[in-house]
Amino acid sequence: MTEIEFLNWVRGPGFQIAVVIFIAGIIIRFAEILLLGRKTNLAEAKGSEMSGGLRTIVTRSFPDRGTFQRSTFTIVAGYIFHIGLFVTIFLFAPHILMFKDVIGFSWPSLPTPVVDAVAVVTIIALLAVLAHRMSNTVLKFLTNTEDLLVWLVTILPLITGYIAFHRIGMTAPSLLAIHILSVELLLVILPFTKLMHAFTFVLSRWYNGAISGYRGVES
């Protein structure tokens, strides 16, 4: 297989396979969760489930002061790499083109040197997150293989993307193909790991807010 054949494969059949697994996985996971259903709450309501749920979806992005002070590193690093991932994934012009091709519409991009810098910061943040995970007592205790796999699968597209952008070590088609392949790996793995939180956080936050909201508590 030549490198262009490789590139054409990842842009063609490889991408199709990844997207199929990605979409199917997410739908299946959501069906698995939602079709389980939950019982109607028979207790007399003190507040609204809906407003509580919607409220918590938003408010859980902002930790309370005490929690921020106690988990500063986790929260700051978490913010950095999440925003970094958002910027690199959604505001890099070539990526927007991909989205435009797949979903039919687009949005403005950031200048490439900005995205480039953000990518570096994000990679550093993810490395710091791993170092923290390996050194913090609780995190070390909680960490399992999946956590490490997910970390790897998340940082790979960033690293391969950075290398592909700067063309380090190999020729451009191979680098681009490796980058796309790493993204496909991420797409395939996402629905079946904790990366699914990218979607289910809406559900879990809503349920939390709804349970509390029903009792008249803002959670």
Partner: protein, 378 residues
């Protein structure tokens, strides 16, 4: 010298045995070319070979003592675009000199001889210069059925293998000869393969492009003629001096890419302002060629300068990249249809799995034994 270049080639297509043993220096001097003219020739050659001007004295020295080689040019499944390109090389005077210098013993498009005479010329050149002649090939070789392409009743494969046997080196010209090119494009009806696919025991220089830049062809020829060696090649057999950097890296529109300024259509403000053509499908980032510096048509311009995205023609399988106007980050195939089927299929699967979950839970609830205080201990 104002005569047609093609004619120049034709004039020299016969076997001129008298010049074979002379060095280029001797040939030039006998033609009354001054040393100053020779220096100019060397300077132009250095520029053509993309070599540093500091190399000019070395080139001069090497060329003076270079001997006139025999060149056999074979054309297989091709469109003659490569030959067209070559004969339009803009360094006309210099070109003439080169073609004066080399003995182009066989080129069935350009040579005067035809039929048996032509084939005899090839065989004679092969015999006389066994192990020393240079073989140039354009076009791919069909492997599904030898009848797809024959010359004088000889299949392309047979002619290539026979001619390659005694060659000192092979220059594959054009993307068809180097990587299969358009004949090799999906679904490759003729089973086209490249020269490199068939020949493994000879040095091969790949000069891809559809067509290759004329001065790149002559530059590679000159390198071989000047130094008698093949230039440094990249991992897919291309001379690094010409194919060492991507179009994107040398593109004068690169700053627009970095600033995120793109032409969205061929006639928008961005296009008029000469912004980056990435979004219009430019393959510059994955294409290695010298267009950005060498340019085309006597150095007039090149595709991106003319406002058209790079097609990536010097890369293998450039024809199968999902469309010339589809940018590199886009998937090559239409994903919408797939996505719709997936959603439908997954929804069905999801409902089935959800039902299984519900079922499992119901049976757990059914299996529930009321726990009383007597059941709290084992």
């Amino acid at each position: 010298m104002t005569n047609n270049k093609d004619k120049t080639l034709l004039d020299n297509s016969g076997v001129d045995k008298t010049g074979v043993d002379k060095t280029l220096g001797e040939v030039l001097r006998s033609q009354g070319v001054s040393r100053r003219s020779f220096l100019k020739f060397c300077a132009a050659t250095a520029s053509m070979m993309a070599m540093s001007p500091a190399m000019i004295p070395k080139i001069a020295h090497a060329l003076e003592s270079a001997r006139r080689p025999s060149v056999i040019w074979l054309s297989f499944q091709e469109c003659t675009g490569c030959t067209e390109s070559l004969t339009r090389a803009h360094t006309a005077t210099i070109e003439s000199l080169i073609f004066d210098f080399i003995s182009l013993d066989y080129h069935h498009t350009l040579q005067a001889a035809a039929g048996h005479a032509a084939e005899e010329a090839r065989e004679a050149a092969m015999k006389e210069n066994d192990g020393k002649y240079l073989l140039v090939v354009d076009g791919s070789i069909p492997m599904d059925n030898p009848g797809y392409s024959t010359i004088a009743g000889i299949s392309n494969y047979d002619m290539l293998m026979e001619t390659a046997k005694g060659a000192a080196a092979i220059i594959a010209v054009g993307t068809c000869a180097t990587y299969g090119g358009i004949p090799h494009a999906d679904p490759n009806p003729t089973g086209a393969v490249s020269v490199g696919d068939l020949i493994k025991d000879k040095p091969i220089i790949n000069v891809p492009g559809c067509p290759p830049i004329p001065v790149v062809i002559t530059g590679v020829l000159m390198h071989f003629l000047t130094f008698g060696t093949i230039p440094e090649l990249d991992h897919i057999g291309r001379p690094k001096v010409f194919y060492g950097q991507s179009i994107h890296d040398r593109c004068y529109r690169r700053p627009f890419y970095d600033k995120g300024l793109f032409a969205e259509t061929f006639d928008d403000e961005g296009a008029k302002k000469g912004w980056c053509l990435y979004k219009l499908g430019c393959k510059g980032p994955t294409t290695y060629n010298a267009c950005a510096t060498t340019k085309w048509n006597d150095g007039t311009s090149w595709p991106i300068e003319a406002g058209h995205p790079c097609l990536g023609c010097s890369e293998p399988d450039f024809w199968d990249g999902g469309g010339f106007y589809k940018s590199l980050s886009m998937p090559t195939e239409n994903i919408t249809q797939t996505a719709i089927y997936t959603v439908a299929g997954a929804a069905a699967a999801g409902v089935a799995l959800g039902a299984m979950n519900k079922n499992k839970k119901s049976s757990a609830v059914a299996a529930h034994n009321k726990t009383t205080i007597d059941d709290l201990e084992k």
